[in-house]
């Protein structure tokens, strides 16, 4: 919201500097994002009086002598401007001057003639006709003859002003105007507010044909219309042009300027219809028909539906309500009679229309934030006053006020001083509370502790009662009065992390200890990322939650797996030259209960990890998985992975725990690797390992009740066995068989695998250390020999294994 300082001063007697006002506004909830000083870029530019202007032969230049008062009475400056004349008062930029846009002026010869500066046009000072009449003249700016030579040009041309760019919170729609801000300024400076004049006189004329009907009162709770005739189109007065210009609007014509002026000043979007274009002099406010079309003032055509509110005449839409007028009823320089509209439209309706049509205007943005009925009344009165003040039309007696019946009074609040203070926690004196509320235009009646308060009608944000008043009081009284206390009255609570929350922290620690860095990836990606993992179109992972309004085409689905995110993180690292690394993430995946989604989906924590680089292999990654299980007292079994097309079929495993599959990991499948967008020469991209564990399933298997087991009383007996087996026999098979054969077998360690000629083709030798754990008495050597014999017998019988 841009507010000119000079305009504010018309309503409040501001006796502080712009900087001081900025601090005051900040403290009461209005952050001034920027104070734009209009003349800030101009320096060493003064009023000069041309005392001599000699045309320089063979050029378009005049060599002038300029009286710049204290800066010199006959400064020689050349100018190419055709309108220079002796006796002209014009801005003179002296040697070393600066102009808007960072332009620097230096004394230097111009076509061989000494020139000690530059005489300026209005445009060169950043002026236009609206800011300063005559500024757009071709040539030098012709200043009035009463200007003093040598005077700083900035105040002379009215650039000694500044614009406050204020950010307005969403609840303060009433501050979307100069008057709205002026009210706050008056309150914070404790000064009276001078309201703009809203009086006007109407003629006796009434047009009997004219009618206004609101068919959609839910979308248009209030509609004011007033008929003005005998319009004399013309220019707006200088003050109005300047105000508009300071807010970045160009002057168009008196009537159009009035509508814009009222929107800036009062915050009420106004519209004016050319009466002569309104079919049967009727205005009907209704929902658009499906497929109905309108061409707005900017020439764009829109096809409408019943969600859009339109203003129609007897036959057709003439405006897109609250957004933009129709081209068919536009005010032109031929307009002689018009109908002013000042309305309150439902903000949600305007927002939806503006969004769905992609048509956003100053009016729609005001309506989206909220316009009160009070503002609609004030806006209409002000517009009519301005018609009268400018003398540009006859205000007829044809006035319309269609209301859905909302009460025309401010919200009433019963409160107590003690109640307000109990929210704040400090004791603001009752008189101060009454004073603050009164300054903010609340009507207050006090009876001891009790307050009966009526909020101003424009404060539609006031709703609940005491908390609203507490907020108003403290923002004016000052937050610096709050005295920090540490839960004086509160009950002591225990709090802290739950065992499950601590367990997640431990999972992360274990992964870190295994050399994995924690990653944080986005929870959404695209179908492409599932394609990249060769996940079949009918695989369960394809049942995903789709974002209806994604921010980009690569972030369209909520992830059903962490694996694609992990792979992408590895690929990004490889591209950046990080040739090896390990990453993990403990994050949710999302499983819809039905598709399309009609209820909240399942969110399930998964643990994803990736390791890449020359030094990685399957067993190093498996070691990390084993460590994870071990740290939580779980033992994992492994079987060849199934249902994971992104993993190498021969170098991947499903992780089983207590017979339940809880995840899988392994080398990235060769065909998936081949398609990665990585430089061909990078060798490490051949060696990527991905894993994903269903954390919830994992966590459920953990025994939360740890108990000490006595240290074995008797020594463990170990035996080494070297076995010769077929290549097809897996280590897991052998271990399983060993355990089955003898219940005393504890830890089994594989310490060597050997393949060689003497073993023969397709054979391997595997050497194990078996630990036999005694139960209630020591194990005798002969006993252990018997166990070994039994184990070897079983291995031979079931797996064809020989001892070496």
């Amino acid at each position: 919201m841009k507010v000119p300082f000079s305009w504010l001063k018309e309503y409040v007697d501001i006796d502080v500097t712009p900087e001081e006002l900025e601090r005051k506004l900040f403290s009461c909830g209005f952050e001034v994002e920027e104070v734009i000083h209009l003349g800030a870029e101009i320096s060493r530019v003064v009023v000069g009086v041309v005392t001599e202007a000699v045309p320089q032969e063979g050029t378009h230049l005049h060599v002038c002598k300029v009286d710049c008062g204290e800066y010199g009475h006959d400064i020689q400056i050349s100018t190419g401007a055709p309108n220079v004349y002796v006796g002209m008062h014009t801005p003179a930029a002296l040697d070393g001057a600066t102009l808007p846009g960072g332009i620097k002026i230096k004394a230097k010869p111009l076509m061989g003639v000494e020139s000690n500066g530059m005489l300026c046009s209005g445009e060169e000072l950043g002026l236009n006709d609206d800011l300063y009449p005559g500024a757009e003249v071709y040539g030098l700016l012709d200043l009035p003859k009463d200007t003093v030579p040598g005077a700083d040009i900035v105040p002379v041309v009215g650039l000694d002003d500044c614009i406050f760019d204020i950010s307005i919170t969403a609840n303060r729609a009433d501050c979307q105007s100069v008057l709205g801000i002026a009210r706050e300024v008056a309150a914070v400076l404790n000064k009276p507010l001078k309201m703009p004049a809203i009086d006007y006189a109407t003629s006796d004329y009434r047009d009997p044909r004219l009618s206004i009907t609101v068919e959609a009162p839910d979308l248009c709770p209030r509609y004011l219309g007033h008929y003005v005739r005998n319009i004399t189109p013309g220019e707006s007065p200088r003050w109005m042009k300047r105000h508009l210009a300071l807010c970045g609007l160009r002057s168009i014509s008196n009537v159009v300027d009035i509508t814009n002026y009222v929107m800036l000043e009062i915050g009420q979007p106004m519209h004016a219809f050319d009466m002569s274009t309104l079919e049967s002099c009727q205005i009907i406010v209704r929902r658009a028909h499906d497929g109905e079309k309108i061409v707005t003032l900017d020439g764009k055509e829109f096809t409408l539906n019943p969600n859009n509110l339109v203003i129609c005449d007897g036959a057709k839409p003439v405006a897109l309500a609250g957004v933009m007028g129709g081209l068919n009823s536009e005010i032109t320089d031929k307009t002689t009679q018009l109908l002013f509209e000042s309305a309150k439209f439902a903000r949600d309706s305007i927002r939806k229309t503006s969004r769905s049509l992609g048509q956003s205007t100053d009016a729609s943005s005001h309506y989206e934030k909220g316009v009160s009925e009070y503002t609609a009344e004030l806006g209409m009165a002000r517009a009519l006053h301005l018609i009268q003040e400018l003398g540009c039309g006859e205000i007829t007696a044809s006035a319309f006020d269609v209301s859905a019946g909302a009460p025309r009074e401010g919200k009433h609040i019963s409160a107590t001083i003690s109640g307000i203070n109990s929210i704040l926690g400090i004791q603001v004196p009752g008189d101060a509370i009454v004073d603050i509320l009164t300054r903010l235009e609340f009507q207050v009646t006090r009876d001891g502790d009790r307050l009966e308060v009526v909020a101003p009608r424009y404060r539609e944000d006031i709703e609940v009662g005491e908390p609203d008043l507490a907020e108003e009081v403290i923002r004016e009284y000052g937050y610096e009065h709050i005295v920090p206390t540490f839960l004086k009255a509160a009950t002591v609570t225990t709090g802290g992390l739950t065992p499950e929350q601590r367990r997640r922290a431990k999972v992360k620690q274990v992964l870190c200890a295994q050399g994995f860095y924690e990653a944080e990836t986005l929870a959404f990606y695209a179908d492409d990322d599932l394609d990249a993992l060769h996940i079949a179109a009918d695989a369960p992972e394809r049942n995903v939650i789709r974002i209806l309004n994604p921010i980009s085409s690569n972030l369209t689905i909520m992830r059903p797996l962490l694996a694609p995110s992990m792979l992408n993180a590895a690929v990004i690292n490889l591209k950046k030259g990080n040739a090896s690394g390990r990453l993990f993430e403990l994050s949710n995946i999302y499983i819809p209960k039905q598709n399309p989604v009609t209820e909240l989906p399942e969110e399930r924590l998964h643990l994803g990890f990736v390791a890449w680089g020359d030094e990685e292999d399957f067993f190093m990654v498996k070691g990390a998985v084993e460590a994870l299980g071990e740290q939580f007292g779980l033992e994992f079994d492994y079987q060849r992975a199934a249902g994971t097309p992104w993993l190498h079929p021969g170098v991947s495993a499903d992780i089983l725990c207590q017979g339940k599959k809880i995840g899988s990991f392994g080398k990235l499948a060769n065909d998936v690797t081949a398609e990665l967008k990585l430089p061909k020469d990078s060798k490490s991209h051949q060696n990527i390992y991905l894993g994903e564990i269903d954390y919830v399933a994992f966590s459920e298997l953990i025994n939360p009740n740890l108990h000490y087991k006595p240290i074995p009383e008797f020594d463990i007996v170990s035996r080494d066995l070297a076995l010769v087996a077929d290549e097809s026999v897996s280590c897991g098979d052998i271990v399983k068989e060993m355990r089955k054969a003898c219940s005393y077998v504890g830890e089994i360690q594989l310490f060597d695998i050997y393949r060689g000629e003497q073993l023969g083709d397709g054979k391997k030798s595997m050497a194990f250390t078996l630990h036999f754990v005694p139960a209630d008495k020591p194990l005798e050597s002969a006993e252990v020999d018997r166990f070994v014999k039994k184990i070897l017998g079983n291995l031979k019988y079931r797996l064809g294994i020989e001892i070496r």
Binding site: G29, T169, A170, N171, R172, R347, R351, S422, I423, L424, V464, G465, P467, A470, E471, I474, Y479, I482, V483, P484, F486, L487, A489, A490, T491, T493, G495, G496, L497, Q501, L511, C512, Q514, G515, Y517, E518, A519, E520, T521, L522, A523, I547, L548, N549, P550, I551, L555, M558, N573, K576, N578, R582, L583, N588, Y590, V597, T598, E599, L600, E603
Partner: protein, 340 residues
């Protein structure tokens, strides 16, 4: 005999001086103290000494034996010392060679900051609650006093997965879920991922928030500031202060924006605080009556405050990270720096 002993001692000293190793030491022992060594030989020679001189001679010989044994022990200790020294020297390593270890990973800066915040508040008796990331309109907006046509909905660009189901735009919905489940006294922290359709140097479409909620009897704005003071001091250092200023959130009233005094310059003004001495870190306020009522808590009996912290913002401030994208890119050269 005297003469013999003197000569032996002389010879022994001479030989002792030449002993350099265990082997030589052993030969030395054999030569003097072994079965056939010079000292036992003296004993044997006693037989040839006249009887009356024998006791004196025996004593002298014994003294010589004791002396020789002591001398041997001395020599042995010396050799032991020399050999140990030599061994130590041979075994010495270049201690400046790098150590051998398995590289350890570390937590993500977002987790680090989250953990720090959780630690502070867990110590104050807060529980930690994590609500759903995909949330219904009711919890994310409506019951937080943001009805369908409310302008505050425009403050946040919401991702939808169904008409009434959104990716939560704020962890504030956790307030509702907690108050549905529990009745006061409530002290809870709701950390989690949130989503908004926004992406630039300071915005990511996914980021993290931490909602805090206290509901009890007699809770005031002073309590809010007191608790936040403790929080920012734990996070940014002892001398840091908070400043409250008016703001707007639909689910709190009064609502405040909370600034901390700049921990970089101590409030004097620097680029980090844009020369204002203050840094905006979080939003907070007194829980709105409608929100309490929506959860069946009587605002006439109970009051509370809530605050919402942007974890990325804190992490960026704390670690001097200038682009939010770095937090989600997972470049190891970035991640490896956070040994905090």
């Amino acid at each position: 005999m005297e003469e013999k002993i003197r000569a032996l001692k002389e010879q022994l000293e001479a030989d002792a001086a030449a002993v350099r190793s265990k082997d030589e030491l052993s030969a030395f022992w054999q030569k003097y103290l072994g079965k056939n060594g010079s000292v036992p030989a003296l004993m044997k020679g006693l037989r040839d000494v006249p009887k009356e001189e024998r006791p004196a001679a025996g004593k002298t010989i014994n003294e010589c034996k004791t002396w020789a044994e002591a001398r041997y022990q001395q020599l042995s200790d010396e050799i032991e010392r020399i050999e140990l020294e030599a061994r130590n020297k041979a075994e010495a390593v270049d201690i400046t060679l790098p150590g051998t270890r398995r590289e350890m990973g570390n937590l993500h800066p977002i987790t680090l900051v989250k953990n720090q915040i959780v630690d502070v508040f867990a110590g104050m008796g807060f529980e930690i609650y994590e609500g759903p990331e995909i949330e219904d309109d009711d919890h994310n907006f409506t019951r937080l006093n943001v009805p369908k046509n409310h302008p505050a909905r425009d403050m946040q660009d919401t991702f939808y997965v169904a008409d009434d189901i959104v990716l939560r735009t704020q962890t504030s919905g956790g307030q509702i879920r907690v108050m549905d489940r529990e009745k006061p006294p409530i002290k809870v922290l709701v950390p989690g991922r949130v989503f908004r359709s926004d992406s630039d140097a300071t915005h990511s479409p996914m980021f993290h928030q931490m909602e805090g909620l206290v509901v009890d009897k007699g809770i005031t704005l002073c309590d809010l500031q007191g608790m936040l003071d403790k929080f920012v001091q734990a996070l940014f250092g002892e001398g840091v202060k908070t400043r409250l200023r008016p703001s707007y959130f639909p689910f709190t009233e009064p609502s405040v924006e909370v600034d901390v005094s700049c921990f970089e310059c101590g409030g004097k003004g620097c680029p980090l605080c844009k020369h204002t001495g203050w840094i905006e870190v979080l939003g907070a306020g007194v829980v709105h009556h409608s929100v309490l009522e929506n959860c069946g808590i009587d605002p006439k009996v109970y009051s509370g405050f809530a605050f919402g912290i942007g974890i990325e913002r804190i992490a960026m401030l704390k670690y001097g990270i200038n682009n939010i994208g770095l937090l989600f890119e997972n470049d190891l050269r970035f991640l490896k720096q956070f040994k905090d």
